[in-house]
């Protein structure tokens, strides 16, 4: 995907070989029809390769050999995109990262250990349905009670919501937001599976109907999770755009080969200037996407002052041009491109489904302007 150290290369290659063996594209539709969207033991074996520990601090059981955990995770995400692979990569990592940094010793002892080993899966319950679907909008209420907190509201769509053992729930606490670690199956928590564009990614709506949770569910301090949620958003979006880049790469490479091999009017498609120029544009979009996705992971790893700006630039750009690229690949293929007989649809689904999640391209562009305005005022 982008410049890597020797260790990173090795790490990425291990993941690549594993996914090639575990997720051949020909079996993807049957696998997708299974309950979790992937085979038994898949996630645990993936965790064994290091997929779940990368953005968790080393002193609580996480860590990455390269010291660039977010970039490493982005490399895994890229491979997931390249193979249209299933699994709670984003959810488990975000939940583990949050507990690893801000969780209580009890949360780290139990749930974190399970998430790291792959025995349990995590889902990030951040997004809410309209009219609260703007980036950063949290309406679900957490009211303090004698026993702890009462959660009231809806989270949707939640990726991996139906399979997760733990939800990381963001909730409004007065002027601030709080985070809670809620085990699946709590009274008052209703999980409804949703239909999804992406065959191998499952989403759910989670209704919190006067759900009473103990005080020990709190992650960090009440009403003070704003910066944490912002950081987790940046991590999640970084993984997301890396995954989109992987799917774009598959679509581009496959379509390029097709253009060389497909003949019409006695000439390969690749010999027509109209087609060539469109490939030139697609190559530009792909390289630009890879470049900004790499910078985003770097900005989060190094926690640069402009971290969120680079991440939002990445989501804006990849979110705007990723679907254009894959749709153009469909166009180059003609009718076969919109059938189940060709694998292209798996990648079209992967890229498209990511566009509105964790902020639309437009919302991220707006976030960039807000950051600029804040800087202007500060000056």
């Amino acid at each position: 995907m982008f410049a890597r150290t020797g260790d990173q290369q090795l790490f990425e290659d291990t993941t690549k070989r594993f996914l090639e063996a575990e997720c051949p594209l020909d079996t993807m539709r049957e696998v997708a029809a299974s309950p979790g969207g992937y085979g038994a033991g898949f996630w645990r074996r993936g965790a064994g390769l290091g997929w779940t520990s990368l953005v968790v601090p080393a002193d609580v059981g996480g860590g990455s050999i390269t010291g660039q955990g977010v970039r490493d995770l982005a490399l895994v995400g890229y491979q997931f995109g390249l193979h249209a692979a299933p699994g709670p990569l984003l959810g488990s990592n975000v939940v583990a990262a949050s507990i690893g940094r801000w969780g209580s010793p009890e949360q780290r002892a139990g749930p974190l250990t399970e998430l790291l080993s792959g025995d349990a899966m995590g889902a990030w319950a951040l997004a809410e349905p309209p009219p609260h679907d703007a980036l950063g909008d949290v309406a679900l209420r957490a009211d303090e009670s004698a026993d702890g907190f009462v959660l009231e509201g809806v989270k949707s769509p939640v990726e991996g919501g139906a399979d997760a053992s733990y939800f990381l729930v963001t909730a409004r606490s007065g002027p601030g937001v709080s985070q809670f670690l809620v085990p699946a199956g709590c009274p008052g928590v209703r999980v409804t599976p949703l239909h999804s564009l992406d065959l191998t990614k499952r989403f759910a709506a989670i209704v919190f109907d006067h759900a009473v949770i103990p005080r020990t569910s709190l992650v960090g301090e009440v009403g003070k999770a704003g910066a944490a949620v912002e950081w987790l958003t940046d991590v999640a979006v970084t993984v997301q755009v890396a995954e989109m880049c992987g799917a774009m790469r598959w679509a581009f490479d496959t379509t390029l080969e097709w253009a060389f091999n497909r003949y019409s009017f006695g000439r390969p498609l690749a010999s027509y200037q109209e087609i060539k120029h469109r490939f030139a544009d697609m190559k530009l979009w792909l390289e630009a996407s890879l470049a900004i996705a790499a910078n985003a992971s770097d900005a989060v790893d190094r926690d640069l002052a402009e971290r969120s700006e680079v991440v939002s630039a990445a989501k804006f750009y990849v979110g705007r041009y990723g679907p254009e690229l894959v749709q153009d690949c469909v166009q180059m293929h003609g009718g076969i491109g919109v059938t189940m007989d060709h694998h292209l649809h798996l990648f079209l689904r992967r890229v498209t489904a990511a566009v509105p999640l964790f902020g639309t391209p437009g919302q991220h562009a707006g976030r960039l302007t807000e950051k600029l305005a804040v800087r202007e005022v500060a000056r």
Binding site: A270, A280, E287, S312, A313, L368
Partner: protein, 427 residues
Amino acid sequence: MNDEDDVESVEDFAARARTWLAASMPRAEGGGSRAAERTDVEELARIEHSRGLQRRLFDGGFAGICVPRPYGGLGLTPAHQAAFNREIRGYQYPADTQVPTLTPCMSVILEFGTEEQKKRHVPPMLRGETCWMQFLSEPSGGSDLAGALTTAVRDGDEWVINGSKIWTTGAWWADWALCLARTNWDVPKHRGLTVFMLEIHQPGIEVHRIETLSGAREFCQEFMTDCRVPDSQRVGEVDEGWAVTVRWMYHERTIAGGSPYVTAPAGQPAVALDTTGGPPALLSLVASRGLAEDTKVKEQIGESLALSLVGDALTARVAEQIRTGAGSDQWAAITRLWFGTSAVRNSTICFELIGSTAVAWSDEEQALGRIGIRYLMRQTSCIAGGTTEMARNAISERVLGMPRERRADLDIPFRDVPRNAPARPQA
């Protein structure tokens, strides 16, 4: 101590540059006038100012960072130049002496010039004493550079040049030019070209100025009539000028970013096509109109901010691909396509943000009127410096390996190649 120990680390160099810049370089000013509104006297003053800034860099020991020491440079690495470009953000820089003087002209001379030519011509460029232009495009064909009709005929130790070149920015005030000329009409087009260095202001060269729709008269056309050039000003071998031109084109594409010879604030193409600072600079204006919280406005400005960050990332990625050999130098066409298309997008965003004031403005609203005029000139960013169509050809054919376009001008003597047909009669 070996040679490596002698090289100042990038960090030390950057720290030294920071101190020097703060003490020696004027801070950048906002705004900037539009070329069409400047008198020739003002334009010449601006060029003199730029030459002075270049001289300051030279005297301060920061000119020609990647140019070998024997030719007046520092002999450091592209990483040192990149660090300097980061440090010079917020300061004035000698825009008019960078492009096309240092790249592509100096880059070509460093690569193909004789020892004597390099020692004679490179140091004055670094001191801001000579500004160079490209005598490349001709009125007969925009993108088809190898179809040059300008002809050089040998006469003893000299060459006699006849023909016309066009689209040279600022030839009326510049000093020297690199000129591509045909030296053999009896061989296929790419095999009969030669490159020369020539002084612009000499008998035999007449410089005309072209008025663009913006009212600016920056572009020039030159007419060469029996212009005499000594053979010592030939760059590369006779009839092998196409090999020089291919690299010349490469260096021209690096104007958009990635050249090791260009000093310009990082994140900004060496040629500032839009001196307003683009849509983000309009933030306070839209705020004064009560539109700061308008979602659409925020998205448009954010898009421009994103394009700027993506452009930085892409430029670095492409430069890295070329440096490591993972991609050929043809990858520079990707950056060229980026800056053309993203500048178009920025121009459109500015125009939409300003609305009707960009179409009809009062005396007090001149700055906003300029946005409208810039929008009319929008396609310049996709035409000048090699069109984006040529960049798309290069990407598809030279980067992706797709079949070349069919052509009717190969393997036959150039004099037999079909040329522009006379205008068709009106129906």
